[in-house]
Each structure stands twice: as C-alpha cells, then as structure tokens.
Symmetry: C2
Subunit: 428 residues, 2 copies
C-alpha cells in the first residue's frame, strides 16, 4: 500500500463540509479506488468554533490558510475559501511554492489569475485541479481536457448559474415578476452575498472563461467577455418568448471564429423543446461541440454540498492516483492570447420596446431597422391600456453591431421610450 | 519533449479509420495537449488493399494482429477488431504479455473476459482502456471511474444501443410496424451482421455489464443479466404507451440492492417528458446516480467514426500523459463476485394481451392477477374487429416474479391468446 495522501482544507463552508462528509463516509471506497488512504491533517476557516454538523476535532487547526499551505504534513491544499484575491490566492500561491498540489472550487480566482497561477504551478512542477469550479458535480473540466482531448472544439455553451435559472424558470411557472422571484430566491438563500455575481452573470461568466480557455487553447480572458445579466428580463419577456416557442436562459456561449474568440454570457432565447430550453430550476447544463464527437450534453446539479463536494473529491482521487495534467489542458506557455471577437456570429434577435402610441411610430422604428440593414421576421404589438404600446420584434439573422446601431438610432426617433431590450436567439 | 507514443492499430473498420483520421488531422493539437507526439507505427486488418479513404502507406503492415501486439516499436495496441474471442482477445493478451497497454472499443470481449483480462493486465503492470466500448463518444467510463470516484452509486442506467432507439423512435414517428422499420434500419446499414446483437439487447447488455462492474465494484457478470430484446414490441405498444404519456426505450438499469446486483436490459416505459423519453434516433444517454452528486445525465452520439474515434483518442491521450487506472476502477482482486438479484425492485408494469372476446374473459384475467397479489392501476380494452380483443393493463407497483407467475397462470384460463407482453415502467 502506498503512503496516504494528506489534505489541508482551507474553508469550511458548504463545500468544505461536503468534502469532509464524503471523505469520512466513503473512506473505504476511496481507498479501494485510488489505492491510497486519503486523510485530512489540517483545516482552516474563519470561525473555529462554529457548529458545522461535522466534527473537526481530529484535525490540526490553523487560523491562517497560508499556514495550512505550508505545513509539511500536507500534500494537497484544498482551497474552498473563494474570492479572486485575498486569502484564497495567497494560500494557493503558498501551496504551489511549497511544492503542493491544489484542488479548488474557486472560479473567480482562476478566471482572473488563471494564467499566472498556471505558470506558477508549472514552474513548481505542481498541479491545480478545479472541476468543482464549473457546473458543480458535472464533470465538464475532465470531459474537455481528457475525454474529448482528440477534438477541435467548435462551440462550448451552457447554463451554469443555478440561481439565474431558478429565477427564470420560476417566473415562467409562477407568473411572478422578476423582483418578486428575486426576493423569493433571496429568502431561500440562493443568492451570493453580492447578488450581482449571480444575476449580473459574473459567476457564470467566470466559469465560461475557464471552459473557453481549455476548449480553444487560449489564455483565460474573463475581461474580454460580453457580459449581460438577467435584471432587465420582465415577466412579459418570459411570456412572449414562450408564445413563440422559446425559453429565456442565462446562456454562456464561446466559440472560436475567424475573427477571434467569442465569449458571451447573456440572456438568450432557446427553443422550448431543446435540452437547454427544458432545463428547470437550479440544474446546470453544458453542451460541448467537437469536430469528431459531435454534440455532447452534460446535465446535473450545479451547486450544493454533495455535488460540489463530489467534484472536489474526484480531483483529489486523480491526484491520489498520480494523474498529471496542465491547468488548462496544455502547457500555459502554449496558450494563445485570445483576440476577443465581439458577436461576430450573426443571429436572430428578440427585441422588445415601449412605443409611444401615435401615428407613424411603428413606421419610424421599422425604418431605423431597415436603414441599419436589419430585416424583420416577426412583429407583434400587444394590447395595452397605457400610452406606451409594448412592441415585440424578431429580426432575421443580423449582426449584433448593426442591431446596436439601430437601437442607438431609435432614441432619436422620439417614439421609443427608454432603451429596447435585445435578446439573442441562440441556435442550439 | 518526451518520446513519441507509438500505436499499433489492429482493425481498420469504421472506428479504426476514424482514429487514423483524427490522429492525422489533429496531430498538432494532440501533441500540445499531451506533450508527446502520437504516431502510428503498424496496422493490421483483414484486407490490406481495401480503399478506406485514408492512406495506410506510411505504416508497417501485419497480417496477424498478434504480431502487431508483439512489435517492439509499438507501445500501445489499439484493438478495434471486435468480437469476444478470436483475434481480438489473442492480440489483447499478447500485447499485455509483451508489456504494452491496450486501448479497445470491444464491449463483448470485456463483458465476457473482463475479469481475466483485468487480472492479466495487473499482473503485467499494464492498462486496458475502453471508453469507446460504451456509448460511443460519451465519456461514461471516465465519469464513473474518475470524475465521480467519490460517490457510492445508487443506480446507473441508459439507452446504449442507437439502432434499437432508432427503430423505436422511428416506429413512433412513422407509424410503421416493427418489421418494416427493422428492414429500413437494415437497408441503412444500422444493424450488426448478427442483428440479434442489437435488437436482442446483447450489445447494450455488454455495455451495461461493464458499467455495473465499475459502479458497484463487482466482477463483470454479463451472464447474470436479465436480457430482453425489442422484437416483441408492436406499433400498438408504441401508440398505447404514448397515449398514457410514456415512450418505450431499450433501457439498461443496474443497481445494488440488499439482495444483490440487479442488471436488466429490457424494453421499458419511461415518461415521455423525461430526458430518456425524449431521446431520439441513434443518440445514446447514460444516467448516473450517486449518493453525493445526485443525478448526472450524459447525452451524445453512441456510434460512428467520429464519436467512437474521439473516445479511442481520449484513452490514447490518457496513456500518453501517463495516467494509470485499474481496468474496472479498482484492483481486480478487490472486485466482489456479484450475487445476481433478479428484479428485486418493485415496479409498475405495462401488460398487453390478446383476450378472447367472450363473457367473463376479462374477469378471469383480473382474478388471476389478484390471486398473485397484483392490483390493477389502469385497464383499457381497445376497439377491435377480430375475435381477439387487445387488452392493456397497467399494474400498481409489484414484483416481477409475481407478475411472471400471473402470466404463467393466464395460459390456464383459456381466454388469453399467446403470451402477454410485460414491460416495466421505470421511474426515472
């Protein structure tokens, strides 16, 4: 029997507790599967005495996660603190410099500092594993880096924020407004301390940036992502999309185009009958398209103690078995600096606006669209009591830049109230 | 740069050609991702001069796959011959004995000889990888053995024979009979040379046996599987199941129960709206349920040059990277001899029979069911012109053994023509 693999766990929130639970419950199974005993030697968290429902009595305690990272009786730092900087990053760097591998669930840290951390890990001959950082229990990192390593990827997309998907599907099923469902989600504890991380698309954007880097062999470039949250989606949008056979999802899409790397995290319309359209509640889905494999769809819980804990443990098992892999699937020096390509793929768009109810108003809008090369596929003006008429337009395939120009020009017509909402219809 | 990984490929059918194409097209990508050049040194097939649309001019040729396995310039045997015995097995054994790893797509060989081959591989310190053997391009082996290694699995199920799913969904969409669609599938080249491998459930059964062994840590036991093909499914079954909100799928289900290992490959009813119910055509789906991760659903192409080639290449990349893994995810000596448990999980059943159209006939059937402890949830007698009335019964949850006893007793009633068709309604 080989020597035990010794873990130091920094961060004992939901995921940390999940990891401790699995390690305890499945110790025998893990040993059978990896050939090694996996033990926790030390832990660290903000509050030592908090009741977590799982005992930490047998482990050494460190107040400082960096101290965990440097302990000589720790082989692997399990970083479950979170946050792109601060103690999570300090501990990760300390662990790599001390010759230890790192398992983390920290999407923000890798989306922001991934390239530098990958370079550090390689310089130190160590590894960073982060299956838990993207889509909870769904093995998307492993699928991209290992199982589908023979593929040139053509598109990677997914619904990767369960809170947003909960809000959007709950609006659909209940008929409640965005604000009402947002408040409900808040009461249920579904939202991050800073809700904009969820509903602003930042959390999901971090995840997409990691997938894009792996899939397209590029340096992670979260700052180049087109990012739009779900805050402007109204219950009318939900209903009108449904009327036309669509669902609205906070959808991340990345593809390599002739002009560069496209990365978008934004509310999109997808066919109601598609796998993505049918995704309910907090479940996540990732769709991977490769030149040989075609389309692979992965679905599962995107968050929670068990699923995220499962992903962390999967990474730990890989390390216990001695598997070696570059952080983004290939050496960091070979990752290209991605040229960002903003919406170079044409699409049909859903356009919702409030129009002043006076003669010629609709004609003005149609003229502005036509002048910008955008042709109209469908148009509906809804029944209304107020002075503003809700108007819904579905365009033919066009470029987002042309549409944005048209939207900007609409202000000058004097008949469009506020800024129209434009949602991409993604072909899935 | 490390030394190249040298492949000997035995078998140049659809999958072999797919592997050669990917190796050629993505040579640069594979080298970036694995850090090694991956080269083919020798190939073997039945017919050297056949035009495969891909040149084999640069490779050494061997008439005998065993000779490939023994070549000193081969590090990995890629066995794509197929068949449980014969040259595939001889070459695999020869390769392991000669100190080479094996990548194979051969479900039959592993389902029948998996334990012996795993023992041989371990004795020689070598590996057998077989992602391509189950569900084509879907990374189910990797997901079970690696990504979800922290889970105690509760159920693994799936639709893993694209031909059967094509036949069943085509019957549904076209209204054609089983025989008509079978012939259509035959014309399209979808069927194996021995069609019973497909429609008899054997091919899918081989795959399920491998998944069960990994998931439950048991010796592969294909011979203990409950196996039933789709040959008795009529277009009426398809329609009547649809009327009640179900689809009929050739569904493999394995679970560990208190009484032993349950492995079933049989036509089942699943809810039409479920992910499994909505699976169309040749696509495969595997559903994995683990105590921590919950439910993970994987969907993709289950066959074909590209998808299966992708899976083979994924395994080759793992070997190129130096990853090591036991054949069934844990050392073969630790795999338990599975006690087969035949249908110990109760379920509702769909029961279709032809009843003689005379007074008291239905009462007799109902009595037989009641006598065997089976209560009726729904019953329909369909309109009919002939002397035999088609009767459809959905039972409440019951044990399959009780139902089989009832079916046997029906013969004695003299009112049931032939043997009723009983299909399990699987809760998914």
């Amino acid at each position: 029997m080989s020597t035990p693999l010794r873990l130091g766990i920094a961060g004992l929130g939901t995921v940390g507790v999940g990891v401790l639970r699995i390690l305890r419950k499945q110790a025998k199974l893990l040993q059978a599967r990896t050939g090694r005993e996996i033990v926790v030697t030390a832990v660290s968290a903000r509050n030592r005495s908090k009741d977590r429902g799982v005992s930490i009595a047998g482990f050494a305690w460190e107040d400082d996660p960096v101290a965990i990272a440097r302990r000589t009786d720790v082989d692997v730092l399990v970083e479950l603190i979170g946050g792109s900087d601060g103690p999570a990053k300090a501990a990760t760097e300390a662990a790599l410099r001390a010759g230890k591998d790192v398992v983390t669930a920290n999407k923000a840290m890798l989306a922001v500092h991934g390239q530098a951390l990958a370079e550090l890990a390689e310089a130190e001959g160590r590894q960073i594993r982060y299956e838990a950082a993207v889509a909870g229990g769904i093995p998307v990192i492993k699928t991209l880096t290992e199982a589908l390593a023979g593929n040139e990827f053509t598109r990677v997309m997914g619904v990767m924020n369960g809170t947003c998907n909960y809000i959007l599907t709950r609006m659909q099923s209940s008929g409640l407004s965005y604000d009402e469902v947002f408040e409900e989600a808040n009461q249920l504890g579904y939202l991050e301390a800073d809700p904009n991380l969820d509903v602003g698309g930042i959390d999901a954007g971090h995840k997409l940036a990691l997938l894009a880097s792996i899939a397209f062999g590029t340096r992670v470039a979260f700052d180049a992502m087109e990012l739009e949250g779900i805050g402007r989606i109204t219950i009318d949008d939900i209903h009108q999309a449904a009327d036309m056979g669509y669902r609205i999802k906070l959808l991340g899409v990345s593809r390599m185009t002739g002009r560069g790397l496209e990365q978008r995290m934004s509310p999109c319309l997808v066919p109601a009958g598609s796998a993505l359209g049918q995704l309910e509640g907090g479940t996540n889905m990732v769709v991977i398209e490769g030149d040989s494999v075609g389309q692979i769809v992965l679905r599962g819980a995107g968050a929670g103690e068990g699923p995220t804990g499962s992903a962390v443990i999967g990474d730990i098992c890989d390390l216990a078995r001695g598997a070696r892999l570059s952080v983004f699937g290939q050496p960091s020096a070979t990752l290209a600096a991605a040229k960002p390509a903003v919406s170079t793929t044409p699409a049909a768009f859903y356009l919702r606006m409030a129009l002043q109810d006076k003669p010629g108003a609709l004609a003005k809008v149609a003229t502005v669209l036509g002048d910008n090369g955008i042709s109209i596929h469908r148009m509906r003006q809804y029944d209304h009591a107020a002075a503003l008429a809700p108007v819904l337009i579905v365009t033919h395939r066009c470029m987002r830049a042309d549409l944005d120009r048209a939207i900007a020009a609409m202000a000058a017509t004097g008949v469009v109230e506020g800024v129209p909402v434009a949602l991409r219809i993604e072909e899935v």
